[in-house]
Symmetry: C2
Subunit: 667 residues, 2 copies
């Protein structure tokens, strides 16, 4: 007669992870258990059931995982992300009359009440489920319904009511009429593990010649591979490898007039020899390039290319597609500016051009071109000066075909813009690490980065230096400063990078006092490096990268926890793997000039120990072991010898041989 | 030839306030300045403009308020909420080429650069705006464009470029092509001020007779009004006033068999005399009721009625609409249960009945009926046992016609359910205050309640006691315990209530040891109270309610800040009005038995002072004044005399007469 009411009694909200109401995907890597939580509740006191629904994007039907109630109406479920690509997920929950009935029946039985009418109510619930069930389940439920309704033996009725098989079958078959489906369908983007855990090494191939003054080529870089691999890097990032413009080419140390023999900046892309899809003739051929990729692969390294969407005045685009650039009222092409500064050797694209479709397609095709050559990692120059919508479309499209591609966003700009670029598709992002020097700065910044919501979409890559960034701390702190900043980058962050050989050889000369530019920057000239200089910290780099590979704790960012030390020059933090079997505790002396000592105040739960537990810390840098006890332990670090401990925590291991003091063993 | 690109470069996100992506309204009161903030940014370095759009719901066109950039890409605007009802609001932002051009022009001029081509670019921007502008603005802009393009006098061109009138006209007329409209249209529900600031007094009219044993009537309550008004309450809340069922009526102290003369529980609604739209014949007539409303109004008090959607077995609904109740398999009607407990004198409605439309309409009509009698405030009994969708529909519909109605949700249940009820429309909500006794419990709970997001939709009402809740602290702490809990409720919360005369006369006898039920509860029997007992704290109540009315600081919850005291038995907090001219600082001794002393650690910024400033605290309870200095000040409170200070902060006032110690002046 009247229609059944169809309103929903169950509320699903507060779903985590979820970015901008599902507008953007959450990031994970292949192999992760993906945990989803939500607030799920209804009016009144009925029992609920809930499931997490998930599937690989574009691949068949939804799969279900039952959610488990935690406390305070919070529910959780998880599934394994087996493939690279995108998964969809959402939730469903309903009032569960059978669960409610069983719960109440038990209470009534415990109180010794007459339950004969309650058993009839249960029979009705089970009979209704039988109507909707199929096959063997339907038969079984019908039988249970009959038993519950059979008034000849109270004992048998109760026994069948409490039968676990009945509960299981009902759980499987019984869906409330008015299940609530969560309002958003969400996405998790699954990247290859290297998106979360990588050590980058930036190098200018043209400076790789073993003979000073000769223009280095891919073949020279090939010779350099063992040196880089020995340090343990896994991504080898090359500045742009394309032909370089001649018009208004910059000379050494960024002077506006270049001499005749000067090589120009690799970011001044394009000449009569070609543009973004060509290789600078002095670097080698496409064959050489593919061979470099293949040789690097033998050392476990991937090549990352630099994608800089801008043109020199000599780029073929300027001649063939003048409509892709903005015109000034005098008819000239608008060069790059940061008023009052002018960069007349660089033409930015006009993403708003009437011919934008052709421009956008052409830019996307540059990625496709290099992917065709075997490149799977890109470092993207200044993405924040191009529209967000361009990147979202471009990256989305590329990843549909090549879900394993990794893109690093080089956007040193305001935080919300950096976060947005991560949300719209960049796999990794340069961070403010270079300018976080003091303990409170490091602590505050890394806590923001490694906790939700930021950690759900933003994967920071921490660089000790870049061709543009030589921080004052490195200029003035000597070799210990390089060791300190390296250990911080490599242990605070699962992703980090250095620009070498400038870094490992401790190059510290700025263009001028107060500048972060390098003197004789490789951006404008070819350099020859003394790789075997005694100042080099390449052995330390090799040890730390080995420790990173051998300890899963250092392969994620989310487990980072800071611990107290009663000295502002000492910073202490830990990381752990998912199982907490591998726990690493790092103490760094931030002062490159002086010995610093202090007492820790460990957060014992963060390192998987009881507040008063005894344990051993094994320094993976020096192989020394120390017996520690509870939260408070003495540490002392001499930057001239080794400015850090990288401890592995060993719970409860008995220590016999140790009588040396912590101080004595720090070599 | 080709179409203009229509993608949006500006992002608007992180809008506050916003509840569940705009699914629910934010709450404010009439007269509030309504502040809206958002993260607004774009790629690249262009200047942006943004506006807040708002209008009264269903009333004409959108109005605009320019947003002001704060720091870190956060923007803000505000408008005044002049009326009770609903307002809609949303945001719009766009790239502002003129602002960008002016900013860059100033930099170029400062650097002494040639700007002749830049002025031509500006002329183009202004000319384009002139095309789209109308009337005088269009004429003015065209003139400016001509001046900017006129190369005869550089000086005049620059002067007109920097003309403030040009900037203002451009601001008014110039909208970027691709303005971003925020994706959600949001709502703010504006209530009368009493929704945020109210002091409730619950009283059983049938216990108001001056003669012991006689059934009190509305006329008796009328005689009681001066007594209640003297205490300073502004809402007088009556338990249900309807005919009471006879079948299975509960007797004194909740025994299941009532004697013949027993009055029954007012929540056992409905008899042959009528149901939810009838008045119990011993209380009086509808005329008496309306007269009560009118008399209370003369004292500045409103009457709040209790709406309890349930029926006694004798309710006319049971006879006329048996389909509104659930049947048991034996054909009987399902009574209320909390297994194994059974409440056979109460029938809940079946909100899922096939006849739900008729039921829901009838229940809504109960509100309409009493609104017709002049009631504007309702206390709703156990709303969490009815579907959320019912309340959202019912309250939404009522408020469309009667936007000034206030509804208090009596849902003592899990926090997320309580919050949901607030989101779907309840104006106020009972809180867990009765069970927050210790300093850390009070601090943690009130910080959650008074900060966003909870404070945006949930208005707690803090009750010292109810007919169901006599907490152990009151049972055992003597008169000082009543003073302490009263001062906490009335100063921590802008909304609070007491159930009297049980409270002010310090009734502390529980039904039995370990129970929170009252002995001889008024729920089941008529009581006669000795209002003039020397134990009564009604004078203190009167003083505190006067302080609340005279100090705007106490009329909001959002300004609540806790301050340190080095004694766990002393709690210290402050509140301030919007302008911070009125700042109240409260210190309460939570120990009803012992004198407690300690030193404050004030958060000086929260009370509008510099960290080392001298000031005077004026105790509004005792009229004493003390010179204080900076964060640390000595306090000592004797619960036997007065367990609290309610200080008004008086910055920098010179104090001469004071030489008495703080301790001596506490009478």
């Amino acid at each position: 007669m009247k229609q059944k009411n169809t309103y929903k009694r169950v509320v699903i909200e507060g779903v985590t992870p979820e970015i901008n109401a599902g507008r953007f995907p959450v990031k994970r890597i292949r192999g992760d258990m993906f945990e989803v939580e939500a607030d799920i509740y209804a009016d009144n006191y009925d029992e609920l059931s809930a499931v997490l629904l998930w599937k690989k994007e574009g691949a068949g039907r939804w799969r279900e995982t039952a959610m488990i109630p935690l406390v305070n109406d919070r529910w959780r479920a998880a599934f394994r992300l087996d493939d690279v690509g995108r998964y969809r997920y959402t939730l469903k929950a309903w009032i569960d009359p059978f669960k409610t009935w069983i719960r109440d029946l038990r209470k009534r039985l415990d109180a010794g009440q007459d339950v004969s009418i309650d058993l009839l109510i249960g029979a009705g619930i089970v009979a209704a489920a039988a109507e909707r069930a199929k096959g063997r389940s339907a038969v079984a439920l019908r039988k249970y319904a009959d038993m519950l309704a059979d008034e000849s033996s109270e004992e048998r009725r109760v026994k069948s009511a409490l039968d676990e098989r009945l509960a299981r079958t009902m759980q499987k078959c019984c869906r409330g009429d008015n299940a609530t489906s969560y309002e958003n369908e969400l996405t998790v983007a699954v990247d290859p593990p290297r998106a979360r855990f990588s050590a980058w090494y930036e190098v200018f191939p043209r400076s790789c010649s073993p003979e000073p003054g000769r223009y280095g080529a891919f073949r020279d870089l090939e010779m350099r591979l063992p040196y880089i691999a020995e340090m343990g890097f896994d991504v080898l990032y090359l500045p742009p490898i394309h032909p370089i413009g001649r018009t208004l080419r910059k000379g050494s140390n960024n002077v506006t007039d270049s001499g005749p023999g000067e090589p120009g900046s690799p970011w001044g892309i394009g000449s009569e020899d070609g543009g973004h899809k060509a290789i600078h003739h002095r670097l080698g051929t496409f064959g050489d390039f593919r061979r470099l990729i293949s040789e690097a692969g033998k050392y476990g390294m991937e090549i990352a290319l630099d994608i800089a969407f801008q043109s020199s005045p000599d780029h073929p685009y300027v001649r063939d597609h003048p409509q892709w650039f903005r015109k000034r009222p005098d008819g000239s092409i608008q060069y790059a500016e940061n008023p009052p500064k002018k960069y007349q050797d660089i033409f930015p694209f006009d993403f708003d051009t009437a011919d934008w479709r052709a421009l956008w397609n052409e830019l996307r095709s540059i990625f496709e071109f290099w992917i065709g050559q075997g490149v799977t990692i890109f470092r993207v120059d200044n993405p924040h000066t191009k529209p967000f919508d361009f990147w979202e479309w471009c990256i989305g499209d590329i990843k549909k075909k090549h879900p394993g591609v990794i893109l690093l966003s080089e956007a040193f700009t305001r935080p919300k813009i950096m976060y947005r670029l991560a949300k719209i598709g960049f796999s990794q992002s340069y961070s403010y690490f270079p300018w976080r020097i003091l303990k409170w700065e490091l602590t505050q910044y890394f806590e923001e980065l490694t906790q939700a919501p930021v950690s759900e979409f933003f994967r920071p890559s921490h660089w000790t230096n870049t061709p543009d960034i030589l921080i004052e701390f490195l200029q003035k702190g000597g070799r210990p400063a390089f060791m300190i900043r390296f250990i911080l980058a490599a242990t605070l962050g699962a992703n980090y990078g250095i620009y070498g050989p400038a870094f490992e050889t401790c190059e510290n000369r700025p263009l001028k006092e107060g500048s972060e530019e390098y003197l004789n920057s490789e951006k404008y000239q070819i350099r020859h490096w003394d790789l075997d200089h005694p100042r080099s910290i390449r052995r330390l780099i090799g040890v730390v990268n080995r420790i990173r590979r051998e300890n899963q704790a250092l392969q994620n960012d989310r487990s980072l926890r800071f611990h107290g030390v009663d000295n502002e020059q000492l910073i202490c933090y830990s990381k752990a793997d998912e199982t907490r079997e591998n726990v690493i505790l790092v103490v760094v002396n931030l002062d490159p000039k002086n010995v610093q000592a202090g007492t820790t105040q460990l957060r014992m739960d963060a390192i998987g120990l009881d507040w008063n537990e005894s344990f051993v810390v094994h320094d993976l840098l020096t192989d020394a072991r120390y017996p520690w006890n509870g939260e408070r332990n003495y540490v002392e670090l001499d930057p001239a010898r080794m400015p850090a401990h990288i401890f592995r925590i060993i719970p409860q291991e008995p220590v016999k041989e140790q009588s040396i003091s912590q101080k004595d063993s720090q070599l």
